[in-house]
Amino acid sequence: MKEEIKGREHPLSLIINDTIKIFTELGFQVATGPELEDVYHNFDALNVPKDHPARDMQDTFYIKGDTNKVLRTHTSSVQIRYMEEFAKSGKKPPFAIIAPGKVFRNEATDATHEMQFYQIEGLFISEDISMANLKGTLSYFYKKMLGEDTNLRFRPSFFPFTEPSIEFDLMYKGKWIEMGGAGMVHPNVLDKCGIDSTKYQGFAFGPGLERLMVIKYLMPDIRPAYHGDLRFNQI
């Protein structure tokens, strides 16, 4: 047995690769940010006021001995870091980024929930990017990822950092499946990052990737993903 055997990739990496491929081909640029994030980038800059019940929506891991640090609860913090840098560099929109990353929520684990999971953040800002563009972009992505016979629908939701905010569902194999949240970036968020909200607008989205993996490969349970079990790499 002389031939070289290539190692197998983790299914989540496969999902991330495909996702990045689809979005970078469209024209999005990859962005990244820290997992151990400061409260400002995780909450304040995202228009989540202190002592506001919205901070309860996500069970945050706070860091002992450092009230300023959290494990990021969403990849939306990458939006902020990217936009701050972008504005500082003196460049002007348009820009479109896609940011895959691990996020953390302190909740009990079960077949569909983990304390650590992957989100993919998308952000597109220009003078005229609209909600219809958001729907078009997400729809394009899921059709590429899961096939042409998928359908997208929006429902009203609330996130402090988007307005309007929506939750989107995907029709896949005859069933509506809740996929994630999105919306038009809140003007306060743009202004905080140094981007003039009276001139620029755009959308952001942040679905979880485990959900996509589970649907695409028909997995019964997400927990084995983090058990270091090579039987998981069967795709």
Partner: protein, 613 residues
């Protein structure tokens, strides 16, 4: 929040659509509906009110307004319950109390965290059992009936969204209520018998001597209304959202009142609610109603928003007409005027969530319907190369290790020791990993046990991930086998293998060319049995024939394709060594079950003239 269909119906003259239609309408225009439950002749919705609407929608009135908007149905005026009372108790004129008498009640606000306080005395009431309509309404949404006064207060809260409290006037020291900070050393026993130590961060309602209630959170036993109560003070008040929330957290008491106050109800709601509760109490407990004392130091100002049709269509990417937009303003009962293409909208006090034009844009699209958005792929400037350095390194390192035969794993960030600690963790593992090696070693151990299931000759794994130190986080890469695990900073790895050379830097994301649909198969958690079989065959014979014997005779328990782990040729004969793995999804297999299968395989092999080694 639990919302009763019959209760909602009280708001409308017209018959409501069926519960399923109501639910669907709410889901696509307002909120998620978690559950619809039939309870006797009623249907109860469990509606997940969004945080920005909790100030006006944690109530049947709030939901009735949404329903009115969604289904274009007019809310009958006055609010439904009045009609209900007059139907059930037609003998008592419900407006009798308007001939109210002077009051001796005094109210004093000492702290500006109390935004408004309305108090009203009602004398000579009869505390007792609630009428059946009231009990039914409360039961439908899962609330127990206590007595007519408490029930009335609860009913109005679930109806209009404003918490109400009632004190037994005769248990008060004097006829004054003071809203002030607690004092060190003061104590209060709550209605559910919990003793709270007060301090000056806790806003309370007190009489001249001692605390009666924790403002906006919970009443105390001192002035509790009981079956002997004759005279009461009704409190309809408003307290600062953040203060209420912080205090509730501090003393660890969560109530329906807190849930409402912490989202910032408007103080403008108080008079409507005072009228309602007075009418109900008068109708079901009688008494003489005195005039209201209303302390409202800083009147809330009404917000005005300017917005144009162009603004809305530009944000939404839509083409809504002026008439359609105005239909939304009308459904929301907005007072507006148009000036040079701009609407000036007076936002109702009860919609404190509407701050700017972006908020009104959401109102337009959720009311007209998200299905009205036409999907449009935006224009991009295309450049599909990865330029982000961190991600580029990750791709290069991963593809390098995969090429060297390492399988990729991901392990948990949470460990039981480390440098960075989280305050609390649902698993009890409170530290963030300082290395990948510990997790990788566990992975190697697990995979060695499962080696026969893996089609591998040896276990080689890697992980790329973040590790955490006091100084911050670093991206590491670790790779290894049963003998050795190597862990380095990702930059060092890139340097060592010269991954960041110029010709590597034009990278696109890899992707699967999956024309075929791949489906994950969950493994069995029962132990497996593996058997190795080595067979001598003439060099000219095809090993596929041998493989076929294994598959045919192996039964369903042979859970994997036979794995060829060794072969060599000598003197015209080839030895093929295959590994067969047996496993059941239902039970632990025994040798007794596998031996007959192996015997059949052996004899079949012999019948071809091949030799089992």
């Amino acid at each position: 929040m639990k919302i009763s269909y019959n209760w909602l119906q009280n708001y409308f003259e017209e018959k409501l659509p069926r519960p399923e239609e109501i639910s669907e309408g709410i889901i696509f225009h307002s909120f998620e509906v978690d559950e619809i439950e039939k309870i006797k002749d009623d249907t109860v919705f469990d509606i997940k009110i969004l945080p920005d609407r909790a100030h006006d929608c944690l109530s049947h009135w709030g939901i009735a307004k949404e329903v009115s908007m969604i289904f274009n149905m007019k809310i009958s005026s006055p609010n439904g319950f009045l009609k209900l009372i007059s139907e059930v108790q037609p003998l008592k004129p419900v407006i009798g109390w308007t001939s109210q008498s002077e009051t001796s009640l005094k109210i004093e606000i000492e702290n500006d965290k109390c935004l408004r306080y309305m108090g009203r005395v009602v004398r000579n009431i009869k505390v007792g059992e609630s009428p059946s309509w009231l009990k039914e309404k409360l039961n439908a949404i899962g609330q127990k009936s206590i007595n007519n006064i408490v029930d009335a207060a609860n009913f109005v809260m679930y109806d209009l969204g404003q918490p109400i409290h009632a004190f037994d006037l005769d248990k008060l020291e004097g006829e004054s209520l003071i809203i002030r900070n607690g004092k060190e050393g003061e104590k209060l026993t709550t209605l559910d018998k919990k003793e709270i130590n007060l301090d000056d961060s806790i806003l309370i309602i007190a009489d001249e001597k001692s605390p009666l209630a924790i403002a906006g959170i919970k009443g105390g036993t001192k002035a509790e209304v009981d079956l002997n109560t004759k005279n009461i003070v009704i409190e309809v008040a408003n307290f600062d959202a953040t203060t209420t929330r912080k205090t509730a957290k501090k003393i660890n008491i969560q109530t329906d009142a807190v849930k409402r106050y912490e989202h910032g109800i408007t103080p403008e709601l108080c008079p409507i609610v005072m009228d309602s509760i007075s009418e109900i109490i008068y109708a079901i407990a009688g008494g003489e109603v005195e005039s209201i004392i209303d302390i409202y130091p800083n009147k809330v100002l009404q917000n005005t928003i300017s917005i144009s049709v162009e603004y809305i269509n530009k944000r939404l990417g839509s083409d809504f007409s002026k008439e359609e937009i105005e239909s939304v303003w009308n459904k929301l009962n907005f007072v507006y005027r148009e000036l040079d293409g701009e609407y000036k909208i007076e936002v109702p006090f009860l919609r404190a969530d509407l701050i700017g034009p972006h908020d009104l844009t959401e109102e337009v699209i959720r009311i007209l319907g998200y299905d009205r958005l036409v999907e449009k792929l935006p224009e991009f400037t295309k450049d599909s190369q990865i330029t982000n350095n961190t991600y580029l390194k990750l791709l290069l390192v991963r593809s390098n290790l995969l090429f060297l035969g390492y399988g990729e794993v991901m392990t948990y960030v949470f460990r039981d020791k480390g440098e960075v600690e989280v305050l609390a963790s649902a698993t009890g593992k409170n530290f963030l990993r300082t290395n990948l090696t510990d997790g990788l070693r566990e992975s190697i151990k697990l995979n060695i046990l499962n080696l026969p299931l893996l089609d591998l000759k040896e276990v080689k794994v890697f992980e790329i991930g973040t590790v955490f130190f006091n100084g911050g986080e670093v991206m590491h890469v670790a790779y290894g086998d049963k003998k050795n695990v190597t862990e380095v900073n990702i930059d060092d790895f890139c340097e060592k293998f010269n991954l960041l050379s110029e010709d590597n830097l034009h990278v696109e994301s890899p992707s699967q060319n999956d024309t075929e649909k791949k489906i994950f198969k969950m493994w069995s958690n029962y132990p497996f049995i593996s058997r190795d079989v080595a067979v001598w065959m003439p060099e000219s014979d095809d090993k596929e024939q041998l493989k076929q014997i294994f598959v045919e005779e192996g039964t369903d328990l042979l859970i994997k394709a036979p794995f060829l782990f060794d072969s060599f040729t000598k003197e015209g004969r080839t030895s093929y060594a295959y590994r067969l793995v047996f496993q059941s999804y239902e039970k632990t297999l025994t040798d007794e079950e596998i031996n007959p299968i192996m015997e059949k395989i052996t004899s079949k092999i012999s019948s071809y003239g091949w030799e089992v080694r």
